[in-house]
């Protein structure tokens, strides 16, 4: 959280959001959470607050819908949990491509998607985009290495490119569609390789080039059922898990051997 550029009037809200996000981690699953609205100029909610990764999970879509109190533009920013990422560049050494230079980014959202009702540059100025980290060029990734700006830009765009290839960063802006003047909705797609954790879905109402209202809704992506049990087992009791894997494999091999005896 490096948002040092909040205007004075938003300070209290920031504190609130920190406190509320903390409390929410436990009790997100149910109910609507019109949590951080300080003025009811914009209200938004998701069709689901939990993305359950089951054994048959192949990606899913969540619908965000909401309403405004009048004309204005809406931007939706979905941000996954921030984690460190290492970007490596291969170089040709003695004819072979080997990992040489690497840069570590400390604050990389595991997922990032933006949706708006019309192209961003048509209704909002650059400083506002930067302040709210709207759009890939304005995303703060927290590079750790001190590098020449053009070098750093290279690594930065490589990171974004790799994330886009994995389907975790939006290649284009998503579309927010208005139904009438006040009602809006957009679909947010989460691919099968979506990382688990607590996601933030921010809905921003923009008038005259500035954000006048914002609402943050949490979204949990979590493994459930059989795949969750396997994951926990592997994490919590690695040795027993390994033993079980070996015994299972021996049994399966034996069974197959016995079954094919007369073939």
């Amino acid at each position: 959280m490096k948002r040092r550029f909040w205007p004075e009037k938003w300070r209290p809200r920031k504190l609130w959001s920190v406190r509320i996000t903390g409390a929410l981690v436990g009790l997100v699953a149910g109910g609507t959470l019109a949590a951080t609205v300080w003025a009811q100029q914009l209200v938004a909610d998701l069709s689901s607050h939990l993305i359950a990764i089951t054994t048959g999970f192949t990606g899913t879509e969540v619908v965000l819908f909401g309403t405004t109190d009048g004309a204005g533009d809406v931007a939706i920013v979905v941000t996954g949990p921030r984690t460190p990422v290492t970007v490596r560049r291969k170089e040709r050494i003695a004819g072979i491509w080997i990992n040489a230079r690497s840069v570590r980014f400390e604050q990389v959202p595991s997922y990032y998607m933006v949706a708006t009702n019309r192209p961003l540059d048509q209704f909002v100025s650059r400083p506002v985009l930067e302040r709210h980290q709207i759009g890939l060029p304005n995303l703060q990734l927290g590079p750790r290495e001190q590098l020449a700006p053009e070098q750093l830009a290279q690594f930065r765009s490589a990171l974004i490119r790799n994330k886009q290839r994995a389907g975790l960063y939006g290649i284009t802006l998503g579309q927010v569609s208005f139904l009438g003047e006040r009602l809006f909705r957009t679909n947010i797609y989460f691919p099968a390789n979506v990382p688990t954790g607590l996601y933030n879905v921010e809905a921003l109402l923009i008038r005259d080039g500035d954000v006048v209202s914002a609402q943050t809704t949490p979204l949990v992506v979590s493994k459930v059922g059989f795949s969750a049990e396997i994951y926990d087992f592997a994490r919590n009791q690695p040795v027993i898990y390994g033993l079980a894997a070996v015994i299972g494999a021996i049994a399966a091999g034996w069974l197959a051997g016995a079954a094919f005896r007369r073939v």
Binding site: R88, R92, W97, S227, I230, Y241, A249, I250
Partner: protein, 305 residues
């Protein structure tokens, strides 16, 4: 049909993975090699993280080797005594291999080291087998050619600790099979493969073992080295995906049964020639990947090494 893999954290087509398992299992049953050297690159190719591919592969190989050994066992094609001697060497090799793996990780070039090891081992052994087996085939076609000596005495046969292996009709130093086993164990730990492609020719050319016994005996000792590798990987890296292993082994054990039968119909030299071509092809592909300019010279990783 898509299935989510809980450890690899990705969704794969179950039929595709089953088919891959079946194909590799068939080859493994036919040649008596584990097939890991084929499966690991295949898994990485469909997007499984290399660490998960290597560890899960070890788990799958346990099942494939067990069912493979059963088929050989019924035909009396396993030399248990020789297998156990190899296994003792294999245990030492696995521990040494894990140590080398950790060292390479500290230096930060584990990926390139693994690929280079693949190219080196597969390339050398594949080329040697290719030359030898095609020569054997040519010799068989020309009956006038002189027959080679039955037994050539080289310095390897002068080593101490001689043991008698009745099943294989061998009287050799125990250090020889143990040493071969040790190299095999090292390969399991570093490259995540059973090491059959290396054990089989070593047993044929260095030990002069009867070809019929080679496949069964090498599979017998691979069961234990891969089981140990699975356990070590699960305990230290938590990269064994049982869901992926299950898919691979269902395909693998079925394929292995048919492979064993098909292998029985092949002549020794033909089987070796086929295996050699396969090994050389994989080595060339990996070598090409090392030299060719990658699509994107940048890669990202969230896992901490």
């Amino acid at each position: 049909m898509q299935v989510y893999l809980p450890i690899a954290e990705m969704s794969v087509n179950a039929l595709l993975v089953l088919g891959m398992g079946g194909l590799v299992g068939f080859l493994s049953g036919m040649f008596g090699v584990g097939g890991g050297f084929l499966m690991t690159p295949l898994l990485i190719f469909i997007g499984v993280p290399p660490a998960v591919a290597v560890s899960t592969q070890a788990n799958q190989l346990v099942a494939a080797s067990v069912s493979g050994v059963l088929a050989h066992w019924r035909r009396g094609n396993v030399d248990v005594k020789l297998g156990i001697v190899m296994l003792l060497g294999g245990m030492v090799g696995t521990v040494v291999g894990v140590w080398i793996f950790a060292l390479l990780q500290r230096i930060g070039q584990i990926d390139i080291a693994i690929t280079l090891a693949y190219v080196f081992f597969l390339g050398t052994i594949g080329a040697m087998m290719l030359v030898e087996s095609s020569r054997a085939l040519i010799r068989r076609r020309a009956p006038t050619a002189k027959r080679g000596k039955l037994h050539r005495h080289i310095w390897l046969h002068g080593l101490p600790l001689k043991m008698r292996f009745q099943r294989s009709k061998l009287y050799i130093s125990a250090l020889l099979p143990a040493g071969i086993g040790a190299v095999g164990g090292m390969l399991v730990a570093i490259m995540g493969i059973g090491g059959g492609f290396m054990l089989v020719p070593a047993m044929i050319y260095l030990l002069n073992m009867p070809t019929g016994l080679v496949a069964g005996t090498s599979l017998f000792q691979i069961i234990f080295t891969t089981a140990m590798a699975t356990l070590l990987q699960a305990a230290t890296n938590q990269t064994v995906d049982v869901m992926l292993a299950l898919l691979l082994l269902v395909g693998g054990v079925i394929g292995a049964q048919f492979g064993t039968k098909a292998g029985g119909k092949l002549r020794g030299e033909q089987a070796r020639l086929l295996l050699a071509s396969l090994v050389v092809a994989v080595a060339l592909k990996l070598a090409f990947d090392l030299v060719a300019e990658p699509n994107d010279v940048f890669t990202i990783s969230t896992r901490m090494l």
